[in-house]
């Protein structure tokens, strides 16, 4: 179980690192890459967990590998918090607050949209 979570976490973190390498930020830059990583991860977990709890009798390692491992390793709360702090320390308070609110609202909208989309697809298939 631990190994499966670790493997998934490595894959998720490497995907996040690859995106960071492809989109380097200036010291006071707006952290779009992290915002998108977190929002995409939230949309995917909303759909994944809905399918997993409502229809798919998946192998017992699927959730720890993909949900806990890959998506948990891909998305990050610590970078989100430190990015807000970095913008504040750079004197960009409006950008810091905008980033704080935009990530939170987009992430919550994304997880809801992912779950709702999955339920629509499930409903259509089982009818």
């Amino acid at each position: 179980m631990i190994a499966v979570v670790a493997l998934g976490g490595i894959l998720g973190a490497c995907a996040r690192y690859a995106i960071a390498l492809a989109h380097p930020l200036p010291a006071d830059g707006f952290p779009w890459p992290t915002l998108l990583i977190n929002v995409v991860g939230c949309a995917v977990i909303g759909a994944f967990m809905t399918v997993l709890t409502e229809v798919w009798r998946a192998h017992r390692l699927v959730r720890p590998f993909f949900g806990t491992g890959v998506l948990g390793g891909f998305t990050t709360f610590s970078t989100y918090a430190v990015d807000i702090q970095r913008l504040m320390l750079a004197g960009r308070a409006p950008a810091a607050l905008g980033y704080l609110a935009a990530t939170l609202l987009a992430a919550m909208a994304a997880v809801w949209a992912g779950a709702t989309a999955a339920r629509l697809v499930i409903g259509r298939r089982t009818r």
Partner: protein, 124 residues
């Protein structure tokens, strides 16, 4: 080498999140997701401390990759945080959902600043 640092950090951070969540969730019987809250707040503290240390020249960019990108990145999670908040909202615990969202952000930001302040006190 850089990739290896991220891999090693994530290989420790992700299982530590899993184990912490299990341990914390086994020790209370409320609906509040304290496990994810705990890893997100402590990971933000560590990353704030590390970022402060790097800014002060006391930590290398290699350590940033190992502990920051790898360990803290994998230890903390936005996806589980958002999903657990959605579950609270959908199960009628709207107050807990709002408290989880607002509380996690406030505590995470507070601990990032605390970590930064500790780094300032130690290395500047």
């Amino acid at each position: 080498m850089n990739w290896l640092l991220v891999i090693v950090g994530a290989a420790v951070g992700a299982p530590l999140r899993y184990l912490t969540d299990r341990a914390v969730q086994a020790r209370h019987d409320t609906v509040f997701p304290w496990g994810t809250f705990a890893v997100n707040v402590s990971g933000s503290l560590v990353l704030g401390l590390l970022t402060g240390a790097v800014a002060a020249g006391a930590a290398s960019s290699q350590l940033q990759l190992l502990v920051g990108t790898g360990f803290c990145g994998a230890l903390t999670t936005y996806s589980t945080f958002s999903y657990e908040t959605l579950r609270l909202a959908e199960s009628g615990a709207a107050f807990y959902a709002v408290m989880n969202a607002a509380g996690s952000v406030a505590a995470g930001l507070g601990s990032a600043f605390t970590g930064w302040a500790i780094a300032q006190a130690l290395w500047v």
